[in-house]
Amino acid sequence: MRPLLVLLAAAALLAGCGADDPDADRPGGTLTVYAAASLIDVFERVEAAYRERHPDVDVDIGYLSSAGAATAISQGAPIDVFASADERQMQVVADAGLAEDPQVFAENVLTLAVPEGNPAGVTGLADLAREDLAVALCAPDAPCGAAAERLLAAAGVTARPDTYEEDARATLQKVELGEVDAALVYVTDAAARQQTVDAIEVPEAAAAANRYPISVLAGARDPAAAQAFVDLVLSAEGRELLRDAGFRTP
Amino acid sequence: MSLEASVGTRRGDLDLRVDVEVADGEVLALLGPNGAGKSTFVRVLAGLLPPDRGRVVVGGEVWDDGVTSRPAHRRALGMVFQDALLFPHLSVADNVAFGLRTRGARRGEARAAAAAWLTRVGLDGLGARRPAELSGGQAQRAALARALVGDPALLLLDEPLSALDARTRLTVRAELRRHLAAFRGSTVLVTHDPVDAMALADRVVVLEEGRVVQTGTPAEVARRPRTDYVARLVGLSLLPGTGAGRSVRLDCGAAVAIAEEAAGPVFAAIRPESVALYTTRPDGSTRNLWRERVVGATPHGATVRCELDGEVPLVADVTATSFAEMGLVPGAEVWAGVKASEVAVYAR
């Protein structure tokens, strides 16, 4: 076990006690999913569809940064399914021997988000290099940050960000508050906030898409229920929900 | 430099109305029980408490006229509090120099004046100490120096000796007397200890429940107290009654034989050392002889002060030896005798 914050370990320890509960072995028990924060809107609909089909399973989905989720899982958090926003964080879990068979279920591309009405007159990626603009990017360690780095490198733009936000949602929030003039966020997030945020399409983004893998985790308390969730996400119905939210599906 | 004050103010249950005048160089003692309003009155004089109405004039300058009240820091006064209250974060010398510095003196001048005053109050060489390193008596001397160094027009002493132990009180009282004699301004001394008043004051004002009940020289007040409180303080038994020739018919019923003629409402005052106690009825010429019961006894040096109740409430002093021999425990029945010539009588 790699060392981490004591709090996390303690939480894992406490939850681990629950795994010994005989009820947990009963089919149709509980299903706990950790999903990247950018999946919140679409996975709420997936969850509803899942409940319809498996009313006997108690589903619980936690949304957090992919990196945070990966760390918690590696530390032994009793999670059954992990849906990451990029393959790097899934690899962290796989390296710990916990991800059984990751499969990519969606791709997300970045877009330029500007406050409603685009007060700074942003037109494209090149504006991110303007010194007079306040610019937010995701931190390089977050999947959206890694994607942004790839995109900017491919476009040959040296951005001058004012802040590296911890995750995609925090980045979007800065645009919504009007505190930055532009930010690189997921198309899906921008679409979910159409009322407060304008999106400017970035043609170069398609090449720098990030891929969302999902996997049942080793030690899932109810492997059948967990696999059923993964199958639903990968099914035609699941793909349609993802596409509705702005994701691309393989 | 003189004080004229006529002050009225309410503080909770207390309705304070006091008129006093204090001449230059005069020391006025404000004597009274706790809660009589003594401290409230000096706080008004100090400007720490604006009065509801009244007038305070010091040396011709109006400090309060009932409408406007000059703030404390603009009054030329010095004040000594019960607990010395030297600033704990300053050296003794800086404490003494404090008032000079706030009133604009240069550091060097203030230091020199403070050092001179420390010498005057017998604290030579202790200026560098912290107040916590002084004894109670030393701290109170420093507090006096701090109050006097600015040569104030009015000096206020609020129970300056009551926090000191008996021995220290004796010496500090004697020194205070010396400093007050040299002080040219007016002094108001608040105390509930008659000895302080007797020893230090030129004039005594007795304050009870916010009112002046008696004014006079210490000797007058001690000899002729007008209230129970003062009488008890000075140790006299104060017996109100009506004069009828060479006797006083007391309000409590008994009669007191006296040496001179008296008429109308009077006080008969009897000093404790004038009361003789007997276990059996004595023979002889004693005119006043009453059945009494001992209700309390307090040792006072070589004598024991006995509180008596019976036909006439009295206080009697007996020697410790007699006290033991006569078995004067509380509850003991005794005869008390007082010569007619020992009874002081004065008009009410």
């Binding site: 936000e165 911890e166 505190e179 | 404090f98």
Partner: protein, 266 residues
């Protein structure tokens, strides 16, 4: 002044020991798991030095700002007879219960580019606060100042106000009295409050990352660096935490010794 050592009553001993364990064990856990071999490498990272320096500077500035604003505020809370004082006190302590992230958003609404005051600053002077080191200091002050105010107010209430009367009879006006008597009397309380405030500012995360953002050298303080490192490399995060811990403990112990030394002379 020293008191004779008092013996701890039995019923207090066990909970006290548990309390110590509860507070100290997590720190020990951190130390036990620290990959010490990485320490030198991490310390050599310019980014780490930058974050540490920024943390120390901004926490110190936040403490200074808290002193300038907080001590007078504490005086008003402790001494003024104005009505609505209890309401004022409740308002002042709001940042204590407010989640810091919410505090950060609230700061945006006032001092952000679109904020009530911030938009005016931008229009009139071209000053924008978010994403600057000033924003870090403001966020830390917002969260940490209540600790100072509460501790100084307590000290003022406990102080003997008769000393202020004495000062008045010695010709000191209110301001002189405050400066030369009240302040020195409550100095230990102010020092304790400043230490609490500094420590809270140093560890501040939520309001800072929200209002000031995260940019190395400008707004990335140690707690932010630790948090972001946690996502990438938990071992590095632990090393950074230990560095922050060591520096802050060393600073506090050094100051404490100095203050105690001075108090001992008093």
């Amino acid at each position: 002044m020293t008191r004779p050592a008092t013996r701890v009553p039995g019923p207090l001993l066990v909970p006290a020991a548990l309390g110590v364990a509860f507070l100290v064990l997590p720190l020990l856990g951190l130390l036990v798991r620290t990959p010490w071999s990485q320490l030198a490498g991490q310390l050599a990272e310019p980014a780490v030095g930058q974050a540490l320096r920024l943390s120390l500077v901004s926490a110190t500035l936040a403490t200074a700002l808290s002193l300038v604003l907080g001590v007078p505020l504490a005086w008003v809370l402790a001494r003024s007879r104005a009505r609505g004082r209890s309401v004022l006190r409740a308002l002042v302590t709001v940042p204590l219960v407010l989640p810091p992230v919410v505090g950060g958003v609230a700061l945006f609404l006032v001092l952000g580019r679109q904020g009530i005051v911030g938009s005016w600053l931008d229009d009139a002077f071209g000053i924008t606060i978010p994403f600057t080191t000033a924003a870090v200091v403001i966020a830390e002050t917002f969260v940490a100042m209540p600790f100072l105010v509460i501790s100084v107010e307590g000290a003022l209430r406990a102080a003997d106000s008769r000393f202020e009367d004495v000062a008045a009879t010695l010709g000191a006006g209110r301001w002189t009295t405050f400066r030369r008597v009240t302040l020195p009397l409550v100095a230990p309380g102010i020092a304790a409050g400043a230490v609490l405030c500094w420590a809270r500012a140093l560890g501040e995360f939520g309001a800072t990352i929200t209002f000031a953002g995260n940019f190395p050298g400008t707004t990335q303080t140690m707690p932010l660096a630790v948090y972001l490192a946690l996502q990438r490399d938990p071992d590095a995060a632990i090393v950074l935490s230990v560095v922050l811990l060591a520096v802050s403990l060393a600073t506090l112990l050094l100051l404490r010794d100095r203050w105690l030394g001075r108090a001992g002379a008093a």
